[in-house]
């Protein structure tokens, strides 16, 4: 069957198309070239010049695995609000609390209804990967994938402290990608989660983990090189040391130099762009961070924008979340040490526009967005749910595209925070082309999804159709149509057909001899068998759902 989308106004940065009038043909879930006149077109939709982009890809969103489920369990009040019948009791906005911890079904539905066709869980604890895949497996509509966390696991730290050669590290990293069915590697507070278990409370880039006598810099060097040498598309995903701490921008700048020019991605960089100026010893270092991002072409970043309202922060960084637990709102939190593998910290937060720090955090995120020149190296995220629920993306897009809307919002902030931000002097307004770059083309390129994020012949037919409107929040909230693998699944912002996406992985080759050391380690120190650590394709892809795609490394 061939579907024709007639009179599309195509915005496809991967092919340099910015509003080109075109027809798009779809067959068997793929975009095809114009078929010959003899071939029958079964379905034609005349788009009359509506905007057409590839389906959006969220490259960093906590949609699966232990942390978010702990948040759901701990915060029943978030979902409870959904049931309130009095209209004033539950005024649902995109950043409403009940979107902070959505069920897996709601997650898939809300994403597709905004025109997103894929989301990547960025912090899969290797030992918890099976849970992450179970949850993602119950998330309908969208493609999924994840990054496995390394760098605080005792197996890796023993290798590094024992001066194992790079090949041994590479084999272990490749083995982990296979075992956990992931597509990238993340490091969270390099060495710090482990250090917290030895009662260290902070860890700087060149400070030793007391037990292993290795530094975060060494961990970053080793892992970024492994990822690079294995040919994995996705650069090492780095959650820097000193998350959320005033003055942490220096750590972030230094981290950019830690990989000796090997690509790295610094995640939720807003939370790592804080100075210590002013009376309150908390200031924006967005200018320094943006300048460094502009200069260091091997570094990319996503922002982790905060938006005001009630949410919950869920992080692998138990060291820093243990400190943040003091300002939890509501006052409860979960901190865990996990399996000599990692940890987690789940802390509810309420970001308030009249709070100096929160208001400045909001401004810092936007300052970074507007000051980083290359939309191929900066990504639109709220670090869902940490900065805000992903459902607030349309609002964030409007903040980026609409200067007067942004400045009006700024004028309502805490006055001291306003005085500490140069946001109103930044005149930039993102174009649709730039939004399409950061949410589609660049995200697919970063992760290595060659047939997603663009509308070229051969691409998967993940397609979103919008009506261009002055109010970009309205425009991006409610696409006219969304196609997932060629099927029409959303019409007028509502799901009309339930489908199940795919699971994206990468599986670089490795020396199977790596399992000898691992087997010995598991038998001595773990509490599960090595074979049970590994997740098979069949566990993920069941009943025709969640087919595992392996993206070959280059």
């Amino acid at each position: 069957m061939i579907t024709l989308l007639k009179n599309a106004k195509v915005i496809d940065p991967a092919h340099g198309k910015d509003g080109v009038r075109e027809d798009i043909y779809i067959r068997d879930g793929r975009i095809i070239a114009k078929p010959s006149d003899t071939e029958k077109i079964q379905q034609t939709i005349d788009l009359n010049g509506k905007i057409v982009m590839a389906g959006a890809i969220d490259m960093h969103s906590h949609i699966g695995g232990g942390k978010v489920n702990i948040a759901r369990m701990m915060l029943p009040e978030y979902q409870e609000t959904k049931r309130y019948t009095e209209p004033e009791a539950h005024i649902c906005t995109p950043s409403c609390t009940h979107h902070a911890t959505p069920s897996t079904t709601d997650t898939g539905m809300h994403y597709i209804e905004m025109g997103y066709t894929a989301a990547f869980e960025p912090a899969i604890l290797a030992v918890n990967a099976r849970q992450a895949h179970l949850e993602m497996g119950d998330t309908p509509m969208i493609d999924k994938g994840g990054y496995a966390m390394l760098g605080n696991d005792d197996y890796f730290l023993r290798l590094l402290a024992g001066k194992a050669d790079q090949k041994a590290i590479n084999d272990y990293v490749a083995w982990t990608l296979h075992a956990t069915q992931t597509i990238g590697i993340k490091v969270v507070n390099p060495g710090g989660i482990s250090a917290f278990k030895f009662n260290q409370r902070r860890l700087n880039l060149d400070e030793n983990n007391v037990h292993y006598q290795v530094t975060p810099r060494q961990i970053l060097q080793s892992l970024s090189r492994a990822v690079h040498e294995l040919g994995i598309a996705k650069p090492l995903h780095v959650h820097c040391n000193n998350l959320g701490a005033a003055g942490n921008f220096q750590t972030t700048l230094d981290t950019m130099g830690a990989s000796d020019g090997i690509p790295m991605h610094l995640t939720h960089i807003q939370f790592h762009s804080y100075g210590t100026e002013g009376d309150k010893k908390f200031s924006s270092a967005a200018a320094q961070i943006a300048q460094a991002l502009n200069a260091n072409k091997h570094i990319s970043a996503d922002v982790g924008q905060i938006l005001f309202g009630q949410t919950v922060t869920a992080s692998g960084d138990n060291m820093m979340q243990h400190l943040n637990a003091k300002i939890a709102n509501p006052k409860k939190s979960v901190i865990m040490d996990i399996e000599c593998d990692a940890g987690c910290g789940v802390v509810p937060f309420k970001y308030r526009d009249q709070n100096y720090v929160n208001a400045l955090q909001w401004a810092i995120g936007l300052e970074i967005f507007l000051s980083v020149e290359d939309p191929w190296r900066v990504f639109l995220t709220t670090d869902h749910p940490n900065g805000a629920p992903f459902t607030s993306y349309p609002h964030l897009i409007r903040l980026l595209m609409d200067k007067s809307f942004r400045n009006d919002a700024f004028a309502k902030l805490n006055l001291d925070a306003q005085a500490m931000s140069n946001l109103t002097s930044l005149n930039r307004e993102y174009s649709l082309y730039e939004i399409a770059t950061m949410t589609r083309a660049a995200a697919a390129k970063l992760i290595g999804l060659h047939d997603r994020g663009h509308l070229g012949v051969g691409a998967a037919a993940d397609i979103t159709v919008y009506t261009d409107q002055a109010d970009k929040e309205a425009m991006f909230s409610k696409p006219d149509y969304v196609f997932k693998d060629g099927e029409l699944v959303v019409r007028d912002g509502k799901v009309v057909k339930v489908v199940w996406g795919k699971t994206h992985t990468t599986k670089p080759a490795f020396d199977v001899g790596v399992e000898k050391g691992l087997k010995d380690y598991f038998d001595k120190y773990h509490t599960m068998q090595l074979d049970n650590f590994k997740i098979s394709n069949d566990e993920i892809a069941q009943d025709g759902r969640n087919q595992v795609i392996n993206h070959m490394p280059t």
Binding site: N69, R72, S103, T104, N128, Q131, L134, N199, I338, N532
Partner: protein
């Protein structure tokens, strides 16, 4: 003449929350004698009993009379169609079984009502859930205990009644990365009828036992928490426990490199036991201001952790308590534990369960189903939450899985 092993299967044991996955089940010799072994030490009684249970012939029944599966499903379908407010209870099953049960309870079509759900361990699980939802907690997992813990405090429990191999697998281990395993300090604080023998170290070091009745633990744990906060208690003893002994415990906890405070919700069976669990978890929070300590809730059975977790991600909310009397049909699921009786109810019952399930009154419909980890493959969460393990199909069985039966029932209702 001795013949060689006829068949060997590496298995994961779902009989308690520890999910020991070092189990080997083999059938040896001419009469295929079943043998259950584990990698180190001895398999526990629960494991042996689980894997040794014979596969007795079983057939679906209507009101105690054998019928075909088709007839049983047809009758079950009628009961479901008549129900206004069904309750899916028991829920002793694995992940696949629960996913199917959840789908059954939340039909996409509106031709029948949604069902409520409740697990057979709801009362003990809720004690933990209430703490999680009130203050949260700071907890650890088995591999951290094995490699780090230099002090283990069991509060109101001996653990081994629920998790027989806990000390063997996580405390008195041959190896530990960061501590001398055989030198760990073990303390029992309170509890009834404890078996403290497993707390004796391999070197013969006896555990410290600070006895008090379970029912006195609210007071004793409150005292412990107060002392950790630096409060001064102007009494000599709390419920028979000397304050000097508690003070010594507090000092040892502060000195420990990694103290682990353990409770089992099922053993804290008294009104408002959640407040006692909270005393334990808040004691951990106080300790973590200066030194390192973590809590660990053990126990777990009948897939309770799995069912709570999966319900939470599928629904957005944890699984709670239901008033059985408010429902007009009970769908009872018990795949793992035929010895655990179904509560007496007056409503019609559709039961899916282990073929050996005993009933005082025969249910309206009974359909025997496969036991995950024995008759079918499956998936379960370990009690410490982060580890999810595959269960193996250990023996040949023609029993359908719960998911298969529920799919047939849904087809009947469509």
């Amino acid at each position: 003449m001795q013949t060689s092993t006829t068949k060997t299967v590496n298995a994961t044991c779902p009989a308690c929350g520890l999910l020991c996955d070092d189990v080997t089940v083999s059938w040896q010799g001419p009469d295929a004698k079943l043998d259950v072994t584990v990698k180190s030490g001895k398999p526990c009684g629960k494991t042996v009993a689980f894997f040794s249970r014979p596969l007795n012939a079983a057939t679906p029944m209507i009101a105690g009379k054998p019928v075909s599966l088709v007839e049983a499903i047809a009758h079950a379908g009628k009961l479901v169609q008549q129900a206004q407010m069904p309750l899916v209870a028991g829920l002793s099953t694995d992940l696949a079984g629960f996913r199917a049960a959840y789908q059954f309870a939340h039909p996409a079509q509106s031709n029948r009502p949604q069902a409520n759900m409740m697990h057979m361990n709801v009362h003990s699980s809720l004690r933990n859930t209430k703490v999680l939802q009130s203050t949260g907690w700071q907890t650890t997992t088995l591999t951290e205990v094995k490699n780090r813990a230099d002090m283990i405090v069991c509060i109101g429990t001996d653990v081994v009644h629920h998790n027989p191999r806990f000390f063997e697998r996580a405390v008195w281990t041959d190896e530990a990365m960061f501590t001398d395993a055989s030198a760990r300090k073990v303390v029992y604080l309170g509890g009834d009828d404890l078996n403290t023998a497993p707390g004796v170290s391999p070197k013969g070091e006896l555990p410290t036992v600070l006895p008090c009745a379970t029912i006195d633990l609210p007071e004793v744990t409150a005292a412990l928490r107060a002392l950790l906060q630096g409060k001064v208690l102007k009494v000599d003893a709390i419920a028979g426990v000397k304050v000097s002994a508690l003070t010594q415990l507090v000092e040892q906890l502060k000195q420990a490199k990694y103290a682990v405070l353990i409770w089992v919700a099922k053993d804290l069976d008294f009104p408002h036991a959640e407040l006692t669990i909270q005393n334990i978890t808040e004691s951990v929070v106080i300790l973590n201001q200066q030194s390192r300590a973590m809590g660990l809730g053990l126990g777990g059975s009948d897939g309770d952790t799995t069912v709570n977790y999966a319900h939470t991600w599928l629904d957005g909310l944890t699984l709670g308590e239901q008033d059985v009397d408010a429902h007009d049909l009970i769908v009872w699921i018990n795949s793992f534990s035929p010895d655990k009786p179904m509560p007496n109810v007056s409503q019609p019952v559709i039961a899916f369960g282990h073929p050996d399930t005993q009933f005082t009154t025969p249910p309206e419909v009974f359909i025997p189903v496969a036991t995950p980890g024995l008759d079918a493959a499956g998936t379960l969460f370990r009690v410490d939450s982060s580890v999810v393990l595959p269960l193996k199909k250990v023996r040949e069985s023609t029993l359908p899985t719960l998911a298969e039966v529920l799919l047939k029932l849904e087809a009947q209702l469509a």
